[in-house]
């Protein structure tokens, strides 16, 4: 039995449909991320699970029991808020110990437990400070300690790292992942940063406009995107529109403005139906024999390599290039790729049509 | 003559020394980024240049003339504020036209110029909206249009992209770079995101704790970091402490816990002095014949590849690994690299000592 299950979960604010029927499950001892652009409904889902927002429609089950109407304070779920929401009038230690008051512990046990939680996030030295005397990263750890001190079954994290600089974020990612492994809790982490999602998750739920576009293991999401949207959002893939011409076993044949290719893809595409060919920057390479001829429009330095943008038959392709091979802007280049490595996904239009028929029965 | 020059610039707030004597120049028609972690003094520098904050010590020169005491409104410098600071009571067009009132233009010219600036950022269609009716990205463009409509010599941008999600940020980066090229203005862009700095800049100034750690072309910064701090902050390099044993021509010989290597490095290191060997993740590879023996501690999925962390002689090394080669956690691996490609930088301690002697005369 999964720890938590969301069934046809909906959230409506007045006339705004923020979450429009999502289904997912969170297993025990797993790290799940909710990934999607701003405004897609991630926070709304988290807040319903936390109990801060009423479920408009659908159901939330914890251990198989409906918890729609259980109050926030009664759920074995804790949250690390995006803004940390540390109590400014309490010391770090008191913040961390806040929830332990309701566990029937003695004051001494309370303090000990809070200290242990602070230890876990390596913040024991600052136990007596006030939140405002801490840096952003330190506050974040206190928020984390406060949430884990309560030993919840499920820990919710709402973009906990978005305020940190890149390096600090990387360090915290590693700490979070370690912590989840050590404590064997389930973490549900909201982010709009795909790299963060990859770094952390056992399972990724990609959202858009209140619905789930795709969910699966990180590798599946990255390598087998179901829709052009996921391919673009996750891998920065160029999505070349085309039409399936053949559905031979193991691969599709697709006809695109860039040529015809035999390539694996999502299941269920039919001959004659439109589809997109997803080409990620690191799958493309400069190749004098390449089948695609393109004109360079931009070249962006990225430290370890360059990201070159080129236009071919009206389509913008991006590819990564080593320092020594960067072409001039405006140059004609030829681009190659291995058709067996790229992927065919559904078009947005078709995906929407599918969803409509799905929804009916 | 450079457009702007900062000489021994300092900013003190009460007892806080936010900027502690920085020297740099901005050339005409260049894109410069100020890069550094939170609180290092980036905004303070920008605000002194913009004229919103008094210079505590040192000098700012524009075209060779001191501008310390010129008021903000009299400087040919405009700013794109982090929070955009659009006037909520004015329409988009009126916002963009705001500064033109002080240029002695007729109302008609004013409107035309504002429209042209909106055209530049592709926002003409929204000329009559109020700022609150725009999305974050659109607001950002209006802020940009407002700043460039005044045709400043120098445009200051304070983390203009930090509020956007990753995909939108990438798009805006390309637009900004294009704009700077087309308008031939000088842009000074503040960020704490090294990728953003690389994507945009002709020149990067890396700051830390109110001082400049290093400045130079992006490639120099990336490939020839002067200090361990820059190597780590910019390239995520592992910095292995060691001691220079030989200063043969073209390369140093360095003795480290991982072994002895002959490697290029920053100028001026002497035999016997401490130094650090900087190993960036993409420079390391799994190699059964590799000289370094390590134990895997973490593996993080990053989509295109994995980032594996391993410990060797008490030092944590990170390396990127393809999907199919990811070792188990805890496994013993051997790591290799090409000594000619890596780099030796100064230790933090030495850098500080240098700075002290620099400061004296």
């Amino acid at each position: 039995m999964p720890l938590l299950r969301a069934r046809a979960l909906c959230k409506t604010y007045g006339t705004v449909q923020a979450v429009r029927g999502v289904n997912f499950r969170l297993d025990e001892n797993s790290y799940v991320t909710l990934l999607g652009p701003s405004g897609c409904g991630k926070t709304s889902i988290l807040r319903m699970i936390g109990g801060f927002e009423e479920v408009s429609e659908g159901m939330l089950e914890l251990d198989g029991k409906k918890i729609n109407d259980v109050s926030a304070s009664a759920r074995p779920i804790n949250t690390v808020f995006q803004s940390y929401a540390l109590f400014p009038h309490l010391s770090v230690l008191e913040n961390v110990g806040f929830g332990l008051r309701y566990k029937g512990l003695s004051r001494k046990e309370e303090r000990e437990k809070a200290r242990a939680a602070l230890e876990t996030v390596q913040m024991s030295a600052m136990a007596d400070r006030r939140p405002r005397q801490l840096s952003g990263g330190q506050q974040q750890r206190v928020a984390l300690a406060r949430a884990i001190a309560n030993e919840p079954r499920l820990l919710l994290l709402d973009e906990p790292l978005s305020a940190l600089d890149r390096r600090m974020r990387k360090d915290m990612q590693i700490e979070l992942k370690d912590l989840q492994r050590r404590l064997k809790m389930t973490f549900l982490h909201v982010t709009h940063d795909q790299e963060e999602a990859f770094a952390l998750s056992d399972w990724i739920i990609v959202m858009r406009d209140g619905i789930i576009e795709q969910q699966g293991a990180p590798d599946t999401i990255y390598r087998r995107p179901e829709t052009a949207y996921v391919a673009d959002f996750i891998g920065g893939a160029a999505c070349v529109p085309g039409k399936i011409t053949d559905t031979a076993i193991g691969a599709y044949e697709i006809e695109t403005p860039l040529g015809q290719f035999a390539t694996p893809g999502v299941r269920g595409l039919k001959a004659g139906s439109p589809a997109v060919l997803c080409l990620r920057p690191e799958q493309l390479f400069l190749d004098p024999q390449g089948r695609i001829s393109a004109r360079v429009t931009h070249a962006v330095y990225r430290g370890a390599e360059w990201l070159v943008e080129a236009e071919a038959a009206g389509i913008t392709l991006a590819l990564t290039v080593g320092h020594d091979d960067v072409p001039e802007i405006g140059a004609e280049i030829r681009i190659g790729f291995d058709p067996a490595q790229v992927w065919i996904a559904r078009t947005e239009a078709e995906r929407r049509a599918d969803r409509a028929t799905e929804a009916k029965p | 003559m450079p457009l702007l020059r900062a000489r021994a610039l300092c900013k003190t707030y009460g007892t806080v020394q936010a900027v502690r004597g920085v020297n740099f120049r901005l050339d005409e028609n260049s894109y410069v980024t100020l890069l550094g972690p939170s609180g290092c003094g980036k905004t303070s520098i920008l605000r002194m240049i913009g004229g919103f904050e008094e210079v505590s010590e040192g000098m700012l020169e524009l075209d060779g003339k001191k501008i310390n005491d010129v008021s903000a409104s009299a400087r040919p410098i405009n700013t794109v504020f982090q929070s955009y600071a659009l006037f909520p009571h004015l329409s988009v067009l009126e916002n963009v036209g705001f500064g033109l009132r002080y240029k002695g233009l007729s109302r008609k010219e004013e409107r035309e110029k504002a429209r042209a600036a909106l055209e530049t950022v592709q926002m003409s269609a929204m000329a009559d909206r109020r700022p609150r009716q725009l999305s974050g990205g659109q607001q950002q463009r209006v802020a940009l249009a407002r700043a460039i409509a005044n045709e400043p010599r120098l445009l200051l941008l304070d983390e203009p992209l930090s509020a956007l999600d990753r995909r939108m940020r990438k798009d805006m980066q390309i637009e900004l770079k294009d704009l700077q090229r087309r308008l031939k203005m000088t842009f000074l862009h503040v960020t704490h995101d090294q990728e953003e700095a690389f994507a945009l800049s002709d020149w990067i100034i890396v700051m830390r704790d109110g001082i400049i750690e290093q400045q130079g072309a992006p490639d120099t910064i990336y490939r020839r970091p002067e200090t361990a701090y820059v190597a780590d902050f910019i390239g995520g390099a592992a910095c292995v402490p060691g001691k220079i044993t030989d200063t043969a021509i073209g390369a140093y010989e360095i003795e480290t816990p991982l072994g002895q290597f002959a490697t290029p490095g920053v100028r001026g290191l002497k035999a016997g002095s401490p130094a650090v060997l900087c190993l960036r993740p993409e420079q390391l590879f799994l190699d059964p014949q590799g000289r370094i023996s390590a134990r895997v501690t973490h593996a993080v999925y990053r989509g295109a590849e994995w980032l594996v962390e391993a410990e060797a002689a008490g030092i944590t090394l990170a390396l990127t690994v393809g999907h199919d080669d990811v070792p188990e956690i805890g496994a013993e691996i051997r790591i290799g690299f090409d000594p000619a490609q890596v780099w030796i930088a100064r230790t933090e301690a030495e850098r500080r000592a240098d700075r002290a002697t620099e400061a004296k005369p």
């Binding site: - | 913009g50 004229g51 919103f52 008021s71 903000a72 409104s73 009299a74 410098i77 405009n78 700013t79 504020f81 929070s83 600071a85 659009l86 006037f87 909520p88 009571h89 705001f98 500064g99 009132r101 002080y102 240029k103 109020r130 700022p131 609150r132 009716q133 407002r146 700043a147 005044n150």
Partner: protein, 258 residues
Amino acid sequence: MSRLSTLWVWAVFAFMYLPIAMIALFSVNDSKIMSLPFSGFTLKWYAEVMGDGRLGGGFLTTLSVAFPVAICATLLGGLAALAISFYPMRGRGIFAVLLLAPFLIPKLILAVAQLIMFNETGVERSLLTVIAAQTVIVLPFSTLVIASVLIRIDRGLLEAAADLGASGLSAFRRVVLPLMANGLMASWVVAFVLSSAEYVLTAFVSGRAQPLSVLVASDFRFALSPSLNALAVMIVFGNIALVALAELIRRRASKTGA
């Protein structure tokens, strides 16, 4: 929890309007005495108020005091609010205490003190002294109202204006003033209302011309005419109408974006 508090809020509002309801009932009660039981419906008390030349004159006096008080208080309050919340200044703490002082001094004490001062300095009591005295006690309110609007204005907008070439004055005129307009309006209404209701201070410092509030108070000494109830009802509903008007203006303004 939420339902309970809603109930509580309604109860509190009911409590606040309970005496008003009584006043309204007795303003149409056909008896000169304000006591139960009711004796029938009449509008004659309203007619009496309308027809009372003295009250009418008092009403005009009230207006001729309330308008300038509202303007002065809003003007001074605007300056004070700007000084305290928008433009940095030295000695802000002391200034804030000074601003709050009239609020913290029992009105009667202030009234007596002012009366003595006017007498000692030979200032004739007149509508001017009433206006000045009322402005003093309305000032903390109008400052508060305007400051609460100013606080919400992003200081960055001033910098943006300077950045675009606007001088301090021009930035004020083109940015701050339009953005604080709602606050000024609200302050004006609050000041007007407070001024027209004030009588402890007014009774002391008014000279020959007597505002309505003072007349009502002196009338009460002798005969509790129900027409005073009618007057109160008219004032309350007049105020509700004013407030509704201000609200309407605010809504319209916020729709257009300010």
